[in-house]
Symmetry: C2
Subunit: 342 residues, 2 copies
DNA sequence: CTGTTAGCGCCTTCAC
DNA sequence: GTGAAGGCGCTAACAG
């Protein structure tokens, strides 16, 4: 099949196709877009011509006419974080299935840069924007005078009239604790990360609520510091010194849990026989490779990204997106650190 | 300041601005784009009108005229992988500075989906494409009949006439080994990951070359299996049983190194005094939180992403991109697992 | 300096 | 069933 290239250096246009097929521009358009006011034979001729020229319709021109581009902006505050990526994946996946392409913009935690990217996205006439934050603490709203729908993911907007989706950390803390209780633990402590994070506070609320429901109290206070293995190791050592009879530890992150496991091992405690340990985030590289493997709470972040995308889809199709913060359910992943392997 | 909205529901256009400013379309265009054939007073009137209407120029229309969109496609085979993200970040950063926006497309390791995304990107008239792979093994070329420049990052194209950038794994293996040699180690072993990966083979070549240069040989064979902590633990146990006098271990990944550290600890070996351990990838969450902290090789992936972006920039500006695979230098990051902390 | 005119590539009435 | 004309929003020649 001879490829023809009428004007090298420039993409072939619909009029090239029309000319080659010996029809008018309008007819070619109809033939290619499957309009039904075209004779079958004509259509065939046009399609063949298009293939011969390897014609591909210019989306820019289409978008200009249609008034919508089939693109959305993913405006993230941070690409380093472990939490943003799965959300991105979920969103990209959901959009990809709907013929929508995503612009990725990383503001790197800088408000100026965010503003800059926002403007660029609007100039490119995206049909919607998902703002992905790195923490679950509320973030400033982009404001009300944005001409396209906006959904906030992970970090909800501080403005309750915006549409936000975020994981339910309170429920996560509760589920983790209930799981330990269900394995018969009664002396449960909570080692968490940076107390200035809403995530740390929310999870602690859930932990305390579950204990209260069982008529129990936390062993000691919640131990806050930061989300690292180092802290997990140090905190576990302090905890065991003060409360040698603790039999369950809810950790604020998988990293902390890894540190806790290390210290318990050093102290000669068996996990889960002597002490059960549960992490948070279900970061598989950490959770699956520890000894024993780590039970953890998974925030379903990819699903969260998909949900955000769905909201945008609906909003584009005219439905006003639900205002307020929607808390998405989290999921318990059971491994050897809470239930002995058979 | 009264916001005016001439035709609600539709974005304000340049002609709205022109009308409000009482000038022609062309003049408004010139005024806004800083052309210098406009009287200062007129320009001011136009700018004011634009602000009042919060006008933002439609990039689609501009792109249609200019013949280039100021967008590039980032076509990745995988967003899960640890290696793709830093490359994305580097590329996004480099492009962002140049007013270029990126379309993110995740093919999820599926050739069909890749083809699909490629077509979508071309229909959107991206000015260039970066293909980011998940391994350093060569991957199939997208082919020669793509009308925009393509650069392959991390996974080089199998076609040597394409332009590829990838980290220099041979050099990485060499640098790691030379570092151990420089600390006086002479009985060095190499525990690596999946031997079907080019990365594993390349690094082993570098390790062997460095030893040969020092008149030494590897202790035992290279131990291959997979890139996990589990394997690191198992391999170290086997190694120490057969060669108790080993005094340095080059690991194929930080995960493996973490496992090795665990086993050495269990066996009562001091790191780095008895055995020095070096990882690979400089994955900070693993490297910084281990005991001791892990010396590692950093592949400068963010820089790699930037380099790929620069190549695309040059290609867009007319320069033919360098054909062939460019190996980018890697970097040694020294921590406590090879040099005792003071 | 300013305005008029012609497109960029495509789609959509409307006559024929 | 097909083609001619108008326009999406903007810019780049040209005239005036």
């Amino acid at each position: 099949m001879a490829r023809v290239d009428p004007h090298p250096g420039r993409a072939t246009t619909l009029s090239d196709v029309a000319r080659l097929a010996g029809v008018s521009l309008a007819t070619a358009s109809k033939a290619i877009n499957g309009r039904d006011q075209v004779a079958p034979a004509t259509r065939r001729r046009v399609i063949e011509a298009a293939e011969q020229l390897s014609f591909s319709p210019n989306q820019l021109a289409r978008s200009l006419i249609a008034g919508r581009t089939g693109t959305v902006g993913l405006l993230t505050s941070d690409l380093e974080g472990r939490f943003v990526i799965p959300i991105l994946m979920g969103a990209e996946d959901a959009f990809g299935a709907g013929q929508v392409n995503v612009f990725l913009c990383d503001a790197r935690g800088d408000a100026i840069r965010e503003q800059h990217h926002l403007k660029a996205l609007l100039n490119r006439r995206v049909d919607g924007i998902i703002v992905v934050g790195r923490q679950t603490d509320p973030r400033p709203s982009l404001g009300k005078d944005i001409p396209v729908p906006v959904v906030y993911a992970y970090a909800p907007s501080a403005d309750p009239t915006d549409s936000s989706v975020t994981p339910d950390n309170v429920s996560g803390g509760r589920i983790a604790t209930e799981h330990l209780l269900s394995t018969g633990r009664r002396r449960i402590a909570h080692i968490s990360g940076d107390p200035t994070y809403a995530a740390a506070q929310d999870r602690a609320v859930g932990v305390r609520a579950a204990l209260a429901d069982a008529g129990l109290e936390l062993v000691g206070d919640v131990m806050y510091s930061n989300w690292t293995e180092h802290w997990g190791r140090a905190a576990a050592a302090m905890l065991l010194a003060q409360h040698p009879d603790v039999d369950g530890i809810v950790c604020g992150s998988d990293q902390i849990a890894r540190g806790v496991l290390d210290t318990l091992r050093d102290l000669g405690k068996e996990v889960p026989e002597d002490v059960a340990v549960i992490g948070y985030d279900n970061w598989e590289v950490l959770a699956i490779n520890s000894r024993p493997e780590l039970t953890s709470i998974d925030a379903n972040l990819q699903q969260l990204g998909r949900t955000a995308a769905m909201r945008i889809f609906e909003a584009i199709d005219g439905t006003e997106p639900d205002a307020g913060v929607r808390q998405l359910p989290v999921r318990l992943v059971i491994r050897g650190s809470t239930i002995p392997r058979r």
